[in-house]
Symmetry: C2
Subunit: 482 residues, 2 copies
């Protein structure tokens, strides 16, 4: 493909892209294909000769597109959104064209310094401690892993990296990490990867409001110390994935300070909402934290991958992850930041550009206005569900997230269904909703009960699709045989 064909094809794609974003609502949200259906359409082997781009693109439209779940659909209320926006897509086009490796300062100085600057902006926008420094990582899983690794090194006097955990174990050191029962699975993954073992993850009980109980944390730490284990790290959640649980940072942070634990805050989804001054109370006590992660690729209109990871003690992170063979040495030395020393992968895309485009194209006020609309619509929907006699809220509204279930004859004497029948009923309801292609939702389990999650956060959503979802949910539910 020569340069002129590239130019022509790229213009064609731009029209397709703009049409797609304008018309995405016409597609079913969740792909309506069966397992294996797409693969069966794809040739078993690669072509020997070059194929014309028309053909490749026609196959994309015919064979792949029907098998895609449309994450940018305004009726996408599943998981957390992986939201994007026009300025972010524009930046991705430039990033793909420059195709620079941003592993060292020298390999892309402007990318490195823009990342530094834009993450400083986020520190201010979210109200994080002014001495936090940030880095873009691929996912919250990777950032939480980096936090756990740094905590592991600190707790072993920087010996785990050197001699390994087995040698330390021979001397009796076993590290423990704490989180709540509502915390994300990435924490368990982090323990497994870091060699700490998942039996050393303590899932601390939560109160009525799904928030970690500080006294239960303190008791668990005491118990672990008594058993000869070493409490190393607490991962607090601001906006847990299932129920949006908000752990109380101040009392938890005080325990961490007293006990010498690394405090990592996982605000993967909810972090974006902290740009709203009225939500800043969630961060009370953040100055007691050591690190913090949130995903602009979830709810700040920036394409995946864009995880923002912040911490105070950058030297501790570098001491944990830096590794500089001859061919990665920088003559600039300490005068510059080589971000490869701040993350597990070595290679890094130019990801700061999209964040910079998004923040500038909307302005902080514009971003706030978009988030406030999501919060308003979610509140409106939540209140309607709560008011319906045959529905039940299982986890209350947290920002733009809540869980519910269909529960006909709820609370009416004699008419109540048992838990097994409610689960079967709601499983069928969710299948029926997602199969309709009209909206997309995810299941959850709230204190053991099967629930349907609803989260508002897609860039292109509006009041209309949110309220239409409620009409569809009611009609589908009431059409089911209990």
């Amino acid at each position: 493909m020569d340069r002129e064909e590239f130019r022509r094809r790229a213009h064609e794609l731009v029209d397709w892209m703009a049409d797609y974003l304008e018309g995405v609502e016409a597609y079913p949200v969740r792909a309506q294909v069966a397992p294996g259906e797409t693969k069966a359409k794809l040739p078993a082997g690669p072509p020997a000769k070059a194929e014309p781009f028309e053909e490749i693109f026609a196959d994309f439209e015919r064979d792949l597109l029907p098998g895609m779940t449309h994450w940018q659909h305004p009726s996408f209320f599943a998981y957390f959104p992986a939201n994007s926006s026009p300025p972010s897509v524009l930046a991705e086009m430039l990033t793909a064209t420059l195709a620079a490796q941003c592993m060292l300062w020298q390999t892309s100085p402007a990318a490195s310094e823009l990342e530094d600057r834009v993450l400083d902006w986020l520190v201010g926008m979210l109200g994080l401690p002014a001495d936090f420094k940030g880095v873009i990582q691929d996912s919250a899983t990777s950032a939480t892993l980096a936090a756990i690794l740094t905590a592991r090194e600190q707790a072993t006097d920087w010996q785990a990296n050197e001699i390994g955990l087995a040698a330390l174990g021979a001397k009796g050191t076993e590290l423990v990490v704490y989180c709540s029962t509502e915390a994300h699975s990435s924490i368990e993954k982090g323990l497994k990867v870091a060699g700490l073992g998942r039996r050393n993850l303590r899932r601390i009980e939560t109160g009525e409001d799904f928030a970690m109980r500080p006294e239960a944390l303190a008791a668990a730490i005491t118990e672990d110390r008594a058993a000869g284990r070493t409490p190393a790290c607490l991962v607090a959640s601001i906006g847990g994935t299932g129920t949006g649980a908000m752990d109380p940072l101040r009392p938890l942070g005080e325990i961490c300070r007293r006990e010498g634990l690394w405090l990592h805050v996982d605000a993967a989804w909810a972090g974006s909402a902290l740009i709203l001054p009225e939500e800043r109370g969630l961060l009370d006590g953040i100055e007691l934290a050591d690190s913090f992660v949130f995903n602009p690729h979830k709810w700040l209109f920036t394409n995946f991958d864009c995880t923002a990871f912040f911490l105070r003690d950058v030297a501790a992170l570098e001491r944990t992850l830096a590794l500089v063979p001859e061919y990665l040495k920088s003559p600039e030395g300490r005068a510059v930041t080589d971000y490869q020393n701040w993350s597990v992968p070595l290679g890094r895309r130019f990801r700061a550009l999209k964040l910079w485009f998004v923040i500038r194209a909307y302005g902080v006020e514009g971003l706030r206005a978009m988030l406030r609309r999501h919060l308003t619509w979610a509140r409106e929907l939540h209140d309607q569900v709560a008011a319906a006699e045959d529905f039940e809220i299982l986890s209350p509204l947290r920002l733009s997230l809540f869980s519910f279930r269909y529960h006909p004859a709820h609370g009416r004497a004699g008419g109540d269904l048992d838990e097994a029948r409610l689960e079967a009923l709601n499983t069928r309801l969710l299948e029926c909703l997602n199969d309709s292609g009209k909206l997309y939702l995810t299941q959850n389990r709230v204190r053991g009960r099967y629930a349907i999650r609803f989260v508002v956060g897609q860039t292109s959503t509006q009041r209309r699709p949110v309220l239409a979802a409620w009409e569809i949910i009611q009609a589908s539910a009431r059409g089911l045989e209990p």
Copy 2:
């Protein structure tokens, strides 16, 4: 930014992108800015109000572009290339627009099945064992980490994930990983992350040809067993980063089979060349390997990130990394592949699309022709350097990579410079070359001696820039005071 503005701006960007790729040779290869220079141009805080796109883009051109190192420049001969191509950029435009999360089959069935299919294509194209299955990861570092973790679990009877290495260590188990002295730093990083400790990485000596000596590996394994340690994994290099070292897979694989070690093959850069039937000999013995990684984002014309990781025992990988909380459960169960279970990060971009575009747009024969041109030009350059009296080859040509140094009066009685003066001279030569902006090269150390690496692999390079590099190198070197 509304949809119509997006369409207009995207068309403008396409023209800029096409112009950039056509004219990239006009830029200095390595950015010519000082540390802090770019950051000083960027405002300390974010704008409150939305800014017009013209202004954002003008700032990109004025403030950022001069600070970028141009990885797509035809005279980029540094590190390994992060090469790209027109069809790959087109695919990235679509990927950014769909902005789908490809973590589960259900969240993007077509992406999942395309990944499955295209990685099967690569198995055939490279001549990997037919029972290998592949997954796209972000970087070779992450793939090698996944291999080390799987080896760790296998060697601990799947207990490290459960109870942690410290508890195992108390029973005397300490795992050892082997690689050659030429292997990549990511292996050491993998040991550190996995909690194995870098003292348990054995760097096995190499022969004259920089390849690992099998008898040295066997001796090291014996010694570790005698000391009560557990040999767990060998990482063999096909195309080491420094010298392009090629470890002999067959004798190494036989040792691994006999001793029960996981054999992981790191062909991050050189793997792409295995699509050439004439280079397939490098893979002799690959059927003895358990896993294999290479980066299409290095030398197969596909944008970063695109690491292809293959292994035979997928169940072992899933057993190591899978973690499925309620909200990630798939009703499809075992009928589908949820790739989040095959890698550390949970979120995943739609990365198979660009690989599919690239393979189809060039065809296997087209890709081979491009690689063969790189090999031919590298050979031509290497032979000229080898023939020059005042230059010395320090590591011989491996595919398209070799290392050299300027060594005036080399071998002439009385005129020889000592090692310290040669290092100083070549350090200055490299600085002078990279400062010129005319080409970009990386330093290396070959058996302790400072060397300059040269690698041909940039998509847009041609015979002319490769041979011009040699003219510039000679002129610069001969202009230096020894």
